[in-house]
């Protein structure tokens, strides 16, 4: 299990991404799974610092990563105002002037589930990726 307390800056998001990469390598996960999970964490961590915490470096958020028998679960928690990234609208890719919604599209593509909860004043986002087998197609 990996637990990180991070400040709301892009550099800290990437510190979490690097730590997740090391974790996945230690767990001997396939490179494609590692790439997808680090990308999903980059996107969700960026959402937390840009939207929930408004780039206030005095604010912190927490990332935990856990491997169970069949899956990897990444959890992001912050105490910012309610923000549910899974409700972000996936804009039409042909809307070239507003390339928003790309982040959440990538998260959905590289994970099996992204579940949001608001609990005790915290935003909690859980990303999960099933391991082994060919069910996920990735």
């Amino acid at each position: 299990m990996l637990t990180l307390e991070l400040q709301a800056t892009p550099e800290e998001v990437m510190r979490a991404v690097d730590a997740l990469e090391d974790f996945c390598q230690a767990e001997q996960l396939p490179k494609s799974v590692t790439f997808g999970l680090t990308l999903a964490l980059e996107e969700c961590g960026s959402n937390v610092i840009n939207h929930a915490l408004q780039r206030d470096a005095n604010q912190t958020f927490r990332v935990t990563v856990e491997r169970t028998a069949g899956e990897i679960v990444i959890e992001l928690r912050d105490r910012g105002p309610e923000f549910d990234p899974t409700k972000a609208v996936e804009k039409d890719a042909s809307d070239e002037d507003s390339p928003g919604g790309w982040g959440i599209q990538l998260v959905r593509r590289y994970t099996d589930e992204a579940r949001y909860q608001r609990e005790a004043g915290q935003n909690i986002l859980r990303l999960s990726k099933r391991l082994g087998g060919t069910m996920t197609g990735n």
Partner: protein, 127 residues
Amino acid sequence: MPLEIQIQKNVAPNAGVITVQLTGSLDTATAPELERQLAPALGGPVKEVVFDLANLKFISSAGLRVFSTTRKTLKERGGQASFVNMQPQIQEVFEIMKSLPGVAVFRNVAELDRYLAARQRSHEENR
């Protein structure tokens, strides 16, 4: 992982083409630096920017957005952004924006050079 950025102005016959080599990770922390370095390069009469991604290991939507704004600037001048030597995992992420106008993808430098040469010829014929 940091991002290394090398920007080169090409010489004739491909003057007006800028090549940008990216090594490392184009992400939420490094995308602003690429944007900052591209700004002066795009200030001139450049119509084509070639992003060589042979050594790019990671990209997120923050990186795609820099590509997309560059593409938009060039498209408004009748140019485009070209992408060459994408590794498979980068190509997969890139799928999201590859159909936007002003984007051209080439498998390798030879394919890109043939395209640029043909484009050069058609410019000369139109003169």
